[in-house]
């Protein structure tokens, strides 16, 4: 059993009066892929914002590699190795691809000389970006933009990468490529925690499933167990599986 890289305990977060995330607790193992699943309105986006520091939690603890980071803001968390790819608005649209990559590196990585190596590593994973450094990021298609956002998050070599619905809004052509890229990045040693609505595809590459409902963590289990669990399967994949069975 590997040590948890991320340990979240009794985390409460929200806006205004009430808590949206209520006493959430889960762990993320080093070198694995963990996926948070839950219905719309479960609090997934609030949870991920609290994890990356865009929303300061009201109580609880977040430990990254044994260090308590719960009170850190987003820039500080980025500097201790927490990478994040938002679902939307995930590139600087008025800046070029090259400038996006440079910005993703220069304020986090301590080794300034390592930029070229980091960029080449990203180009190896996303060859579509090669030779397009001077193109404006705002002119990219949705899929290409997602690739750039993913690549930018990898530039400073994060300890843990958080992905907010990486396949959302992508055409089927890009969805497969995106999950392959997530797997490739993980194989290269980056621990990944993602939120994903494409449950079947996400579980196919994940080790762990974390079930969030009404702001609470309801279960954490191996992805294979999640896929075979009759109640959870019906709850989160019922419609898709019923359609598939009906069509078969």
């Amino acid at each position: 059993m590997t040590q948890p890289l991320l340990k979240v305990e009794e985390l409460c977060a929200g806006y205004g009066g009430g808590d949206i995330v209520k006493s959430a607790g889960f762990t993320v193992s080093e070198n694995g892929i963990s996926t948070i699943v839950g219905p719309n309105g479960a609090g997934k986006s609030t949870l991920i914002k609290a994890l990356v520091g865009l929303l300061i939690p009201r109580s609880g603890s977040i430990q990254l590699a044994g260090k308590d980071v719960v009170r850190m803001n987003a820039p500080a968390k980025a500097r201790v190795g927490l990478g994040y790819v938002p679902q939307e608005h995930n590139v600087f649209r008025n800046l070029s691809i090259g400038e996006n990559m440079m910005l993703a590196y220069e304020f986090i990585a301590r080794d300034r000389a390592g930029f070229a190596a980091a960029r080449d590593r990203v180009f190896d994973i996303f060859p579509d970006l090669v030779g397009r450094e001077s193109d404006l990021a705002g002119n990219l298609s949705g899929g290409q933009r997602q690739m750039l956002a993913f690549g930018c998050a990898l530039m400073p070599d994060p300890t843990l990468l958080l992905l907010d619905e990486p396949s959302a809004g992508l055409s089927p052509k890009y969805v497969e490529g995106m999950f392959a890229a997530v797997k490739a990045v993980n194989d290269a040693g980056v621990t990944i925690l993602m939120i994903e609505q494409n449950v079947r595809e996400a579980m196919a590459i994940s080790e762990t499933a974390i079930v969030l409902a009404a702001g609470e963590i309801r279960a954490q289990m191996p992805a294979r167990e999640f896929m075979n669990h009759p109640d959870i399967h019906a709850l989160y994949m019922g419609a898709a599986s019923t359609r598939q069975q009906g069509g078969a």
């Binding site: 820039p75 608005h89 600087f92």
Partner: protein, 286 residues
């Protein structure tokens, strides 16, 4: 005609410096800083203090004014704007109107309301290809262009310039890229103060120094920024040059007292015909 064009370009460059400052603060802080007028005045008076009261050469006094005004701008940000971070832009606009009046009255309290001038030698204008050009105009031309090249270099070629454009583009994403928003905002105030005080000194050299000198530039400034495209520094320069030239041209057909009305007309026309300005991007909302 060429003389009017030259005068218009010089007037436009005087507007361009604070217009770029206004554009930068709008881009990063998302509010129109109405206090820009009093920042021009305050910068001019700091230079006046060092130049006339202390006896420092004007060039060095202008540098000290830039540093002094930057300190004042950072203090104002700490006391006024930082507690309002996240407030809507109307609240911040109203706060900046308050800052305008406070700064103007501090100037009146410290220096009085009399018309004053720098300790500079008055020289005869040069004659060149039928044009009359004075030393102040040459200095305005050189200093304004130099200042804009420096700002362009900072914005486009340095990490902090990239960070400023990133915060202007997408503040939340800038946060998760490790960019400290407070440091970027501080840099914006420093640049804004340097541009405003430089404009104040150049305006003071070309004309007079009084507590309302910055107020007279508020309307052309906003017209330039709206015409160029709000939040776009290059657009602000273009808008300022057009405002300067059109204002000068208007004196051919209108009494000079109506010069400022030209800015009003331009603001109205731009808002009616092209609200996003010449270089701005249209905002589409669903």
């Amino acid at each position: 005609m060429l003389q009017i064009l030259l005068n218009g370009i010089v007037s436009g460059l005087l507007v361009a410096l604070p217009a770029v400052a206004l554009s930068l603060t709008y881009g990063v802080l998302k509010f129109p800083n109405f206090a820009i007028g009093s920042m021009i005045t305050f910068g001019a008076y700091i230079a006046l203090f060092f130049n006339v009261d202390i006896g420092v050469p004007l060039f060095a006094a202008a540098g000290l004014a830039a540093v002094g005004l930057a300190a004042v701008a950072l203090l104002i940000d700490r006391l006024v704007y930082r507690p309002l971070r996240g407030a809507d832009h109307v609240t911040l606009l109203v706060a900046s109107i308050g800052v305008y009046f406070v700064l103007e009255n501090v100037v009146r309290f410290l220096f009085g309301s009399d018309i004053r001038g720098y300790d500079v030698t008055v020289a005869r204008p040069h004659r060149w290809m039928g044009l009359r050009v004075n030393n102040e105009q040459i200095l305005i031309f050189v200093v304004a262009l130099l200042a804009m090249v420096i700002v362009w270099f900072i914005l486009m070629r340095t990490p902090f310039g990239r960070a400023m454009r990133a915060v202007s583009d997408n503040p939340d994403l800038a946060d998760v890229r490790g960019i400290s928003r407070n440091k970027v905002i501080a840099l914006v105030w420093v640049i804004s103060a340097a541009l405003s005080s430089t404009a104040g000194v150049l305006i003071g050299m070309d004309g007079i120094i009084d507590p309302l000198m910055g107020w007279n530039y508020v309307l052309p400034l906003f017209a330039a920024v709206i015409l160029g495209g709000i939040g776009n520094p290059l657009g602000a320069v273009l808008g300022a040059l057009i405002i300067g030239i059109v204002e000068e041209m208007s004196t051919l057909v209108l009494p000079t007292t109506y010069r400022q009305a030209v800015s009003f007309v331009i603001i109205a026309l731009v808002l009616l015909l092209r609200p996003h300005g010449l270089l701005g991007k249209p905002r589409i909302s669903r």
